[in-house]
C-alpha cells in the first residue's frame, strides 16, 4: 500500500493495516508498529504547538471527537424508535432458526449497546460524583437507576433478589419501552422481545466485570399485561471475589 492511503477510522481499515503502513499526516496509531507509528515529528509538533486545524479524514470537520457527549441529548420519538425496533425484530426473525435463536440474536444486538452505554452513562455521571461500582448490589442499583433512566427515561420499577437461589436477581419493568407495541402471536410461545433489553443489561454487567446471564420473561400482572422480569444470574466466580474483598 502506498503512503497516500489515509487510514480511515473503521474496523475494516484496521484489518488492512500492516507493518509497512505509515500515516501520511503523521497522525494515527498503527498497532503493528507500536508507539513509533505515531511518534511526534517536527511537522506534527508544529501543528500541535500552533493549534492548526488539520483535515485528517473526510469527517475531521464534524467529527464525533468535537462533540460534547457530557450534555444530555434530546429524547427521540417513541414512534420512530418503535418502527425501527419492529424492523429489527422482523429482520432478526427472518434470519433466525427458532424462538430461542431469535431471542439469542436480539440479546446479541443489545449486548454491544450495553457495553457502550455503561461507559457513556458513567462518564456523564462523573461530573456530579465520581464513583466506580465495585459491589454487586451497587452495580445493580446503578443499572436499575441511572442506567435505566438514561436509556428509557425512567428507572425500572423493582429490583429484587431471588429467594431460593443465591446468585439470582430480578429487575422488573412494568411497561418496558421496547415491547410497548408488540403483541406476541400464540404460536410464538413465550417469546419476549425484551431479550434485546436483557442483552443491554448483560453487556453492561459483563464489561463492568460482573459476568452474568440475563434473560427476559414476560410475567403479566393484573392491569400490567406487559410486565417483564429480567432475570440476572451471576457467575459463581463473582461470589469468590466478593467474599474475598468485602467479607
Amino acid at each position: 500500500m502506498s503512503n497516500d492511503n489515509i487510514i480511515y477510522p473503521s474496523v475494516h481499515s484496521f484489518s488492512n493495516l500492516s507493518l509497512s503502513d505509515s500515516s501520511r499526516t503523521g497522525f494515527g496509531y498503527n498497532p503493528y508498529k507500536g508507539p513509533s507509528s505515531n511518534a511526534i515529528t517536527p511537522e506534527t509538533s508544529n501543528i500541535l504547538i500552533n493549534k492548526k486545524t488539520v483535515s485528517l479524514t473526510p469527517t475531521s470537520f464534524d467529527s464525533i471527537y468535537d462533540r460534547n457527549i457530557l450534555k444530555k441529548v434530546p429524547e427521540i420519538s417513541l414512534s420512530s424508535f418503535s418502527f425501527l425496533f419492529c424492523e429489527i425484530v422482523n429482520w432478526t426473525r427472518n434470519n433466525s432458526k427458532g424462538i430461542q435463536d431469535l431471542e439469542q440474536r436480539l440479546n446479541t444486538l443489545g449486548y454491544q449497546i450495553g457495553q457502550r452505554f455503561l461507559e457513556l452513562v458513567k462518564t456523564r455521571e462523573r461530573i456530579k460524583y465520581s464513583k466506580r461500582e465495585i459491589k454487586i448490589l451497587e452495580i445493580l442499583q446503578f443499572i436499575h437507576g441511572a442506567f435505566w433512566k438514561s436509556i428509557f427515561g425512567k428507572t425500572a420499577n423493582e429490583l429484587e433478589k431471588s429467594q431460593d437461589i443465591e446468585n439470582e436477581y430480578m429487575i422488573i419493568d412494568d411497561i418496558p419501552l421496547v415491547s410497548k407495541f408488540i403483541s406476541v402471536p400464540k404460536d410464538y410461545g413465550n417469546l419476549s422481545c425484551s431479550a434485546f433489553t436483557a442483552g443491554i443489561i448483560e453487556g453492561a454487567l459483563d464489561s463492568a466485570c460482573f459476568p452474568a446471564t440475563v434473560t427476559a420473561h414476560s410475567v403479566p400482572k393484573e392491569g400490567l399485561p406487559l410486565r417483564t422480569v429480567f432475570l440476572i444470574k451471576f457467575d459463581e466466580s463473582l461470589y469468590t471475589r466478593e467474599n474475598l474483598r468485602f467479607n
Partner: protein
C-alpha cells in the same frame, strides 16, 4: 523535561492505543522537537513491559477502591506509573520519568501535587475521548484505535495538560 509513555489497555490486557511524547512546556527550544519523547532506546523497549507489569497492581486496586483515578501506583528505576480505570474495565496507564523538573530528584511537594492533578485531568479527558470512539458503531471493544483524528485529539490533550 519529562518524557511520557501513555497506553490504553483493553479488557484482555491488550494495548489498544499507545503514545510516546514529552512535555510540551519545553525550556530549551530549537535544539529538539517540542513534544518528541526523550526516552533512551533501552528504556523505550521496556516501556510496554513496565506498564504490563503494573496491571497486577491495577487489578488489585480495581476492587479495593471505588475511584476512577488510581494515582501513582508503581515505580521502576526512576520511572513513575500512574493509572486510571474506567467502569468498563479499560485501563489507562501513564509512565513517565520523574527527573523532569530539575535534576535534584524530588521537587517541591506543591509542584508534585500540580503534576498529579494535571495527570488526573489528562486521564479524565482521555477517557472521554475513548468513550467518543466507543460510540462509533464500527468500533468494538478491544479493537486498536487507529483513527488519526483520535490521535490528533489525544496529542492536543498531552500538549494541554502535560
Amino acid at each position: 523535561m519529562s518524557s511520557y509513555y501513555f497506553v490504553i489497555i483493553g479488557t484482555r490486557d491488550n494495548p489498544i492505543y499507545e503514545l510516546e511524547f514529552s512535555s510540551f512546556r519545553s525550556g530549551v527550544s530549537g535544539i529538539q522537537v517540542p513534544g518528541k519523547s526523550q526516552f533512551s532506546p533501552s528504556v523505550k523497549e521496556i516501556l510496554p513491559f513496565i506498564s504490563h507489569s503494573a496491571l497486577d497492581i491495577i487489578e488489585d486496586a480495581q476492587w479495593s477502591t471505588n475511584s476512577f483515578n488510581l494515582g501513582k501506583i508503581d515505580s521502576f528505576y526512576g520511572l513513575m506509573i500512574n493509572a486510571f480505570i474506567s467502569q468498563g474495565n479499560i485501563k489507562y496507564v501513564l509512565c513517565y520519568d520523574a527527573n523532569g523538573s530539575g535534576t535534584n530528584g524530588s521537587s517541591s511537594p506543591s509542584l508534585n501535587k500540580n503534576d498529579e492533578n494535571s495527570i488526573k485531568q489528562f486521564f479524565t479527558e482521555a477517557n472521554e475521548l475513548y468513550v467518543k470512539c466507543l460510540l462509533n458503531p464500527f468500533y468494538s471493544v478491544n479493537n486498536a484505535i487507529t483513527s488519526p483524528d483520535f490521535d490528533h485529539r489525544m496529542k492536543l490533550l498531552a500538549r494541554k495538560y502535560l
